[in-house]
C-alpha cells in the first residue's frame, strides 16, 4: 500500500510528540529491527564506525536507554528530565516504493532541575512502509554545534 506525502509528514510530527510525551514503548515500536539512531560528533561526519559519534545505537541499545529511564536506581533521572521539540515542516527528499527520506529542522529543549538547554537539529529519517505502516529504518540527528562541549544530554533529540 502506498502512503501519501501528508502521511509521511504527519509521521515525523507524531514521532516528535511521542518523545516529548515520553511514550517510549510506542516510539520503539516505530523502529525496524535493523535500524540505527545516529548522532554524529563531527560536523558533516560521514562515517559512524571508525571515528567517535555521540550516538550510534542499535535496537538493543535503544531498548536499554528507554528501559533505564524508568529504573528505580537511575540516579541521573531523579528527578526526571523533560524535553520539547519544535519542528519545521519536514522536507520529503525521496519517496519511492521502498525508501522514503525526510529532512527536518528542529529546535530541541531539554530541562532538569534548574537547568535548561537548547539544541538546533537537523533530523534525517529513512522510512519504509511495512505491512501498510510507516516505520523508521534509520534516523540521523545532526546537532548544529555537535563539536561543542555539552553537559548531560539525557533524552532523545
Amino acid at each position: 500500500m502506498a502512503v501519501s506525502k501528508d502521511q509521511v509528514i504527519d509521521f515525523i510530527y507524531d514521532e516528535a510528540r511521542m518523545l516529548d510525551e515520553g511514550r517510549y514503548d510506542e516510539w520503539l515500536s516505530l523502529w525496524l529491527e535493523g535500524g540505527h539512531y545516529w548522532m554524529p560528533l563531527d560536523y558533516k561526519q560521514t562515517d559512524p564506525h571508525l571515528v567517535t559519534s555521540l550516538l550510534y545505537e542499535d535496537m538493543f541499545m535503544l531498548r536499554l536507554r528507554v528501559e533505564r529511564l524508568n529504573g528505580a536506581r537511575t540516579f541521573s533521572q531523579k528527578p526526571k528530565s523533560r524535553c520539547h521539540h519544535v519542528i519545521q515542516r519536514p522536507f520529503v527528499d525521496e519517496m519511492t516504493e521502498d525508501r522514503i527520506v525526510t529532512n527536518t529542522s528542529m529546535h530541541y529543549v531539554e530541562t532538569r532541575l534548574d537547568e535548561q538547554f537548547l539544541l538546533a537539529l537537523t533530523a534525517i529519517h529513512e522510512l519504509a512502509v511495512v505491512d501498510g505502516a510507516l516505520r523508521i529504518a534509520n534516523k540521523r540527528v545532526d546537532i548544529l554545534n555537535s563539536d561543542a562541549a555539552f553537559g548531560n544530554i539525557q533524552l532523545l533529540p
Binding site: 560528533l41 564506525h49 571508525l50 571515528v51 567517535t52 533505564r68 529504573g71 539525557q154
Partner: protein
C-alpha cells in the same frame, strides 16, 4: 595566601580537606604550581603530522599550541602574541605553513616561536626593543618530550625530568603502542567533549574507584544484563553486553583485579585481569601481531589487560582499547573532559570500530553510563559545600606504613591510588612555594 605547610596539612593520609575541590584559591595555586611543575599531556604527534600543522589546547589554564616545526620536531608554545597578548591560533587544528602571523599587527614567528618579522620595524629602533621579552618571539614551554607519539610538557623551565617523573608507569603507554603491529598509533577523529560542573580531581580519582561501577552504573549495566536475559541470552552477545555489562561485575572481581601504584601519583587498575579481558577476538589481529613480534611476545602484549592508567595529574589511558581521556581544569568547579581514540596502525578496522563504540557508549555526553558518573560528581561538588563536615575520606585499605615512593600492587578496591595522587599533589604543589 596559603603556605606550603598549610597545603601539606590538607592531606592527612586517611583524609583530604574539601577545599582541594571547592576553593578558588587552591585552584589558582594548582594552576600556578601543580600544573607548572608536573609533566602534563599535550597531544598526540599524529594530530600534527606535517610541517606547519598545529593543534591548540591547554596545560592547566594555560593556552598552548602544539606545532610541527620545519625541522620535523614538535614544539609547544604559549598561545599568545608577545606584542599585545592576542591568541595566535584560534582553530582547534590547522596548518600555518612556514610561520605564524598574528592577525592583529602582523608580527610573524617561525614555527618554533622565534620572531621572524614586524611590519614597520624601524619604529622600534633605538627603543631598547631588542632587549625586551617581546623580541624573543612566542614563548616555548619549559620542556617538551614526545614519548612514543604522546607529547608531554612541563611549563616550568626547571624541575623534575621526564623519566624520573613517570618511571615505570610508562609501561602502560608502551603496552598500548605495542598493540599496533607497526608500533604506532594514529589519532582517529575529533574527541568527545563533555563539560562537568565539578573539580577535575574527582574525575581523576574516579578512574581507579572500583567500588562505584556496580552501584552508580546499575541502571545501565544491570538493565543491559536483564534485557539480555529476557531475550534468552542470545549469542553472539549484543555489543552493548560486551562493553557495558562488565561494569556489573561483583566486588570480588574488582578486588582480585588489583591496583598498582607508582611514585609521583601514577597508577592503574587491572593488574591481573580487567573489564576489558573478555572482549571477543578480532579475526586476523593476532596473526598480524605475531608476524610483527613473534607469537610469544604477541601473546604477552595481549595478556596485559590494564584497565585505567592514571598519569598524574590529569589524564587516563586505556591500553586495551586505545583511549585517552584528558581532564582539563577550567575552574574549581568546572572541568572539560576530552576523550580521544587511536587507531592501531596495521591492525584490522574492527578493533578501531570497537574502540569508537566504547568511547561513545561510555564517555559521551549522551552516554547512559556517563550520565550517572556526572550526576555523582556534581552531587559531590554541591555536597562538599556543606559545613557539617570538612574532610573527605580516602581511607579504604590504608595501612600506616604506606610509602608512595615505592611501587606497590594491592587489592583492587584499595583507595591507595587516590592517596598516591594526593601525596604527589602535595609534593608538586609545594616544591615551588617559597616556604617549602
Amino acid at each position: 595566601m596559603r603556605t606550603a605547610s598549610e597545603i601539606t596539612a590538607m592531606f592527612t593520609g586517611p583524609q583530604v580537606h574539601r577545599d582541594v575541590y571547592t576553593s578558588p584559591e587552591i585552584y589558582r595555586l594548582e594552576m600556578e604550581h601543580l600544573f607548572a611543575n608536573t609533566w602534563v599531556f599535550v597531544g598526540h604527534e599524529s594530530q600534527t603530522p606535517n610541517k606547519g600543522d598545529y593543534f591548540t589546547t591547554q596545560i592547566g589554564d594555560q593556552p598552548v599550541i602544539q606545532v610541527r616545526h620545519s625541522d620535523g620536531e614538535i614544539y609547544v608554545l604559549f598561545n599568545r602574541c608577545p606584542h599585545k597578548g592576542t591568541k595566535i591560533a584560534i582553530d582547534r587544528v590547522g596548518n600555518t605553513g612556514k610561520f605564524f602571523r598574528c592577525p592583529y599587527h602582523a608580527w610573524s614567528f617561525k614555527t618554533n616561536g622565534c620572531l621572524l618579522a614586524i611590519p614597520l620595524k624601524k619604529g622600534y629602533e633605538d627603543t631598547g626593543f631588542s632587549e625586551s621579552e617581546s623580541a624573543k618571539g612566542m614563548t616555548p614551554v619549559g620542556a617538551v618530550r614526545n614519548y612514543r607519539g604522546f607529547v608531554f610538557a612541563r611549563l616550568a623551565p626547571e624541575g623534575i625530568g621526564f623519566e624520573d617523573y613517570f618511571g615505570d608507569s610508562l609501561s602502560s603507554i608502551d603496552n598500548m603502542v605495542d598493540r599496533s603491529p607497526e608500533g604506532r598509533l594514529e589519532i582517529a577523529g575529533p574527541p568527545l567533549r563533555y563539560m562537568h560542573k565539578c573539580n577535575w580531581k574527582m574525575l581523576v580519582e574516579n578512574q581507579t574507584d572500583t567500588c562505584h561501577p556496580m552501584v552508580a552504573h546499575e541502571s545501565s549495566a544491570g538493565t543491559a544484563v536483564n534485557i539480555w536475559e529476557e531475550m534468552g541470552n542470545p549469542e553472539p552477545r549484543p555489543p552493548a553486553m560486551e562493553i557495558i555489562a562488565p561494569f556489573m561485575s561483583p566486588y570480588e572481581f574488582f578486588e582480585k583485579m588489583g591496583i598498582r601504584t607508582w611514585p609521583n601519583g601514577h597508577g592503574h587498575t587491572g593488574v591481573h585481569h580487567s573489564i576489558h579481558s573478555d572482549y571477543s577476538a578480532i579475526p586476523g589481529y593476532f596473526d598480524a601481531l605475531s608476524e610483527a613480534y613473534g607469537e610469544e611476545r604477541a601473546k604477552s602484549i595481549l595478556d596485559e589487560n590494564r584497565h585505567n592508567t592514571v598519569y598524574f595529574p590529569n589524564i587516563m589511558i586505556k591500553g586495551p582499547i586505545q583511549q585517552l581521556r584528558n581532564f582539563i581544569p577550567l575552574g574549581p568547579d568546572k572541568t572539560l573532559v576530552e576523550s580521544y581514540i587511536y587507531r592501531l596502525v596495521g591492525a584490522p578496522d574492527q578493533l578501531l570500530a570497537r574502540t569508537a563504540m566504547y568511547n561513545r557508549m561510555i564517555n559521551a555526553p549522551t552516554s547512559i553510563v556517563g550520565h550517572d558518573d556526572l550526576e555523582m560528581y556534581e552531587r559531590a561538588q554541591e555536597g562538599l559545600m556543606s559545613n557539617g563536615m570538612e574532610w573527605v575520606n580516602v581511607q579504604r585499605l590504608r595501612t600506616e606504613a604506606e610509602d608512595f615512593s615505592q611501587e606497590a600492587v594491592e587489592n583492587g578496591t584499595t583507595e591507595r591510588q587516590m592517596r598516591n595522587q594526593f601525596d604527589a599533589w602535595v609534593k608538586f604543589m609545594t616544591v615551588s612555594m617559597e616556604d617549602a
